[in-house]
């Protein structure tokens, strides 16, 4: 198997790797870099569990070859927190009950992240389209859509006013 040398940035950190030419980005993340937050659910690009953000766009990591990420900037679920502070999406997923088994959650978050990067104030329909490639078997999507909407620009201030209403 041919080996390719690649250089890429993952969650802000630069990596130089030598990979077999048929290695997928998903396996590179999970096996070479130990970033197991990105999940494998179908390996054919249908379930979205392996979604990561590559150069600002949501991609299925199972369909991207590691060689294609040479020079790319990758963001995974592990890179969403900044200085230990949850991304508003992560916070809203928790607050809105958008997490059940959690297996689709990393991919959902990354699709939502890519959406909000390009469209900070999406409509409900735009949110549903953005996550339509991410299957979830637990939630029926409703609380996920609510969470993404809450994390979007328009809702952020309102949510803040409501304050924390989680336990005491």
């Amino acid at each position: 198997m041919e080996v390719v040398a690649i250089k890429c940035t993952v969650n802000g950190r630069e990596h130089r790797l030598e990979c077999e030419a048929n290695l997928t980005l998903l396996d590179m993340l999970r096996e070479s870099l130990g970033l197991t937050g990105t999940k494998s659910g179908c390996a054919v690009g249908e379930c979205g569990a392996c979604t990561v953000v590559m150069n600002g766009e949501a991609v299925n990591a199972c369909l991207v070859l590691a060689a294609q990420v040479d020079g790319a900037d990758i963001l995974t679920v592990e890179g969403l927190q900044e200085d230990g502070v949850l991304d508003p999406l992560q916070e809203m997923f928790i607050r809105h009950g958008a997490v059940q088994c959690g297996f689709c959650t990393p991919g959902m978050l990354m699709s939502a992240k890519a959406l909000l990067n390009g469209n900070p104030d999406p409509t409900e329909e735009e949110i549903r389209v953005a996550i339509s490639g991410n299957l979830c078997r637990c939630t029926g999507y409703q609380q996920i859509v609510e969470a993404i909407s809450a994390a979007s620009a328009k809702e952020k201030s309102r949510e803040k006013k409501e304050g924390k209403n989680c336990g005491w």
């Binding site: 197991t36 659910g41 078997r137 999507y141 609380q143 005491w168």
Partner: protein, 760 residues
């Protein structure tokens, strides 16, 4: 009623942080520097005698550490609950194409997969049967023994002939449901490690640890105490990670014990489709009788469930179907028979609903057809015949607990404005391309295992010296939110912050066998056990507090982190009390156990009181049907459920929304297609489950009807939410088109052409 501090409040899930940060560990995320990778060789025929399996070449493939077949099973190669006829690896025969023939452990996944090609298998084909109708015929090839009919349960009430004699209207109908897949997003995975003392540690996404441990004990010929099963975070189960996980765990454990190294096995999605059990497809024949005014007089039902290659939980699934066959209605005369039949197809077993989604589909479509025949509104027909407190069910049980069925009907009807909407839609032009319709379905459901088996569960609550709390439970978190519920209950009882409570993973080494995490029994059984354990700790703490504070006051309480007197005066911090208890030699570590009330079932007579309490629900749907393409859009959906008491409101909403989604998939999209026992659908490119674009905005109605058997009155919510969405949406389609659809799924071709198109 005392005000709750944590129960019934909006809280953060106790396991959400790890899940949103990617830190939660699922079985496929485990790694060990010395681990081996397992791979399975599966059968290429549906029914065959195993002549020989030669692994001599495969063992010398690069990287290979072991290749095992049924001949290497250390114990008895049979497991299963009622009828133990499942094998870890095929021995005498292959019974479906998912059967494993040999397993390999190698130093890399690629080497393991490559070694499979070095295994030489000789199979002698046997004639196979794929449909229950064929399999039930005399002279059909026997799959396990002579007869393929291995389950027959019945219900008898009154005298069926009298019931039909009194009827003004009699309808006969047949309905069928499809073979469907759980489609949990996480495929099955385990890691098995030898413990160095002859035993084994299995970590994985196992739903029912004690069941899996029992299976391993038989197969590995090891005492239960030598097998430790610890749960990793489970990426969805829905009833599906039981027997298939026992198979996977047993194979990994055999390889681990043979090689002395950790062995990981992870199914691909294709392997999961081929090997994992599914929901039983049913053929259901009904005859129903009613008076002109709509009163039901008689119901006769015959149900046949395709069990596939192994028995698994089929006897219990079929039993629940027949017990609940009349739906939430009073029917004076009932005769019902349900059969489980072996075929050479993928085996079927537990899936969220467990025999109810099929039966509810049948009876709820039948009620709508009967309403049409009588010229009645389907809602009125259901209200007229609906069960109320004191009613007798089809099995003759008197419902002595408060029955909230009519409330679920009325509240959903109010929410969707049933009468007005139905009338408006009746007035649509017949020939319009897009027509809307509104439909409903309802159910009652026995909580917990019922007469399936002993229903008991345990929990341990342990207060640490700083006042923080650890909880262990014998029931599993599979994504449904159970750990949050028991953390809430513990926090409520002990007066601590929810954030002070940690629920540790389910581990057979710690907790006594609490039965399976199924049957919507977690909150009722495990929640009550937790409440009892916490209650014991609380009594000890208060007794010590009285000694320390030199008071005899009986009415002290634990609240918001403090010991408080009856006037609400803060006397001592709970964390100081916990530290003082330690210094005084008082252990704040207690076990709670709860056994459900006794129930009674007379199998000979087909009657009894099969469950100690029930939940009730109604779903209503509005759809738009494109009459040129058969496309169905769900426009609105209301799901009303009596849940007893809401412990975690967001959790209940999540169960309702997710249950409806699964039910709509069942109603409109999902079908595992097999041709002559060969799976055609083997990944999500062909097996379609609802996406965010398929789901409407849903309205959940939570009806509180506290039950004396559940913690704070809580009952069940997991399964009832998924059992009536399909009939509600199909009834809505029929209202829109004026044509009846009687088979699932109601996909484009069934809605448009009234039949299923078969691929050639």
């Amino acid at each position: 009623m005392k005000d709750f501090k944590v129960v019934g409040k909006k809280v953060r899930r106790v396991d959400a942080l790890g899940k949103v940060t990617g830190q939660a560990r699922y079985a496929a995320d485990l790694a060990d520097p010395h681990m081996l990778y397992g791979a399975v060789l599966r059968a290429s025929l549906s029914h065959a005698r195993v002549v020989s399996i030669d692994v001599s070449q495969a063992v010398s493939f690069p990287g290979v550490e072991a290749v095992l077949t049924a001949a290497d099973v250390p114990g008895r190669n049979r497991f299963g609950t009622m009828i133990p006829n499942q094998r870890v690896l095929a021995d005498d025969k292959v019974r479906f194409r998912g059967d494993g023939l040999a397993v390999v452990a190698a130093r890399s996944a690629r080497e393991a997969a490559r070694a499979l090609s070095g295994i030489r298998v000789q199979l002698e084909p046997l004639s196979a049967v794929f449909s229950p109708e064929e399999a039930m015929k005399r002279g059909a090839p026997g799959i396990h023994g002579k007869s393929n009919i291995f389950v027959h349960h019945k219900v008898r009430k009154g005298r069926i002939a009298d019931g039909f004699r009194r009827a003004d209207v009699i309808l006969r109908r047949t309905y069928t449901t499809a073979l469907i897949e759980h489609a949990y997003l996480e495929p099955e995975a385990v890691m098995a490690r030898p413990d160095g003392e002859g035993g084994v540690l299995v970590e994985g996404c196992v739903q029912n640890m004690y069941t899996t441990r029992r299976g391993l004990s038989t197969v590995l010929r090891l005492p239960l105490a030598k097998i430790r099963v610890v749960q990793t975070t489970v990426g969805g189960s829905f009833g599906g990670k039981d027997e298939v996980m026992t198979v996977l765990a047993a194979r990994a454990a055999m390889l681990a014990l043979r090689t002395g190294r950790p062995v990981q096995m992870v199914n691909s999605r294709e392997e999961s489709f081929h090997e994992s059990y599914k929901r039983h497809p049913y053929v259901m024949e009904y005859r129903i009788g009613a008076k002109k005014n709509g009163r039901l007089t008689a119901l006769e039902v015959r149900m046949v469930a395709n069990a596939g290659a192994y028995a698994t939980t089929t006897p219990f699934v079929v039993w629940r179907s027949v017990v609940q066959c009349a739906g939430p209605y009073v029917v004076p005369h009932v005769k019902a028979d349900a059969y489980g039949v072996y075929t050479n197809t993928v085996y079927t077993g537990a899936m969220r609903g467990f025999g109810s989604p099929q039966g509810n589909f049948g009876i709820e479509l039948l009620m709508d057809e009967l309403a049409g025949e009588l010229g009645m509104d389907p809602l009125d027909l259901r209200i007229l015949n609906g069960i109320r407190t004191g009613s007798r069910t089809a099995t003759g049980q008197k419902l002595d607990q408060p029955v909230a069925f009519i409330e679920t009907l009325e509240r959903s009807a109010r929410s969707i404005n049933w009468k007005r909407r139905r009338e408006e839609l009746d007035g649509q032009p017949r020939n319009a391309r897009r027509r809307k319709g509104i439909g409903m379905a309802a159910s009652y459901r026995g909580c917990a295992l019922g007469a399936e088996g002993t229903d008991a569960a345990g929990a341990v609550v342990s207060v640490q010296t700083d006042g923080s709390v650890i909880v262990w439970s014998g029931i599993a978190e599979v994504g449904q939110g159970y750990y949050t519920v028991i953390a809430q209950i513990t926090a409520e009882v002990l007066g601590v912050n929810l954030a002070d409570v940690t629920v540790l993973p389910y581990d057979t080494a710690i907790m006594s066998d609490s039965g399976p995490s199924v049957a919507s029994r977690s909150t009722m059984l495990g929640g009550t056990a937790t409440r009892r354990a916490a209650g014991r700790v609380r009594r000890k703490m208060l007794a010590e507090a009285r000694l320390i504070l030199r008071t005899k006051a009986k009415s002290m309480d634990l609240e918001r982190g403090w010991v408080v007197s009856s006037g609400g005066q803060r006397r001592m911090r709970i964390r100081d009390l916990a530290a003082a208890c330690f210094e005084r030699g008082v252990a704040l570590f207690e076990f709670g156990w709860y056994k459900g009330p006794d129930i009674h079932w007379d199998e000979q007579r087909g009657r009894g009181s099969p469950y100690f309490t029930y939940v009730y629900g109604t779903n209503m749907a509005e759809v738009e049907v494109d009459q040129e393409t058969g496309e169905v859009r769900v426009l609105q959906f209301v799901s009303a459920h009596d849940v007893g008491r809401v412990v975690n409101p967001q959790g209940v909403l999540g169960q309702i929304y997710g249950g409806v989604a699964m039910g709509l998939g069942y109603g409109l999209l999902e079908e595992v297609e097999e041709r002559e026992g060969r799976l055609v659908t083997e990944n999500f490119d062909e097996y379609l489950i609802p996406t965010s674009l398929d789901m409407p905005q849903m309205k959940a109605v939570m009806v509180e009807n506290p039950d004396r058997h559940g913690p704070y009155g809580a009952k069940s919510v997991g399964e009832p939410t998924t059992e009536i969405a399909a009939p509600a949406v199909v009834n809505a389609i029929c209202h829109a088109t004026g044509q009846r659809v009687r088979d699932l799924p109601a996909n484009l071709e069934r809605v448009l052409l009234g039949k299923k198109l078969v691929r050639t």
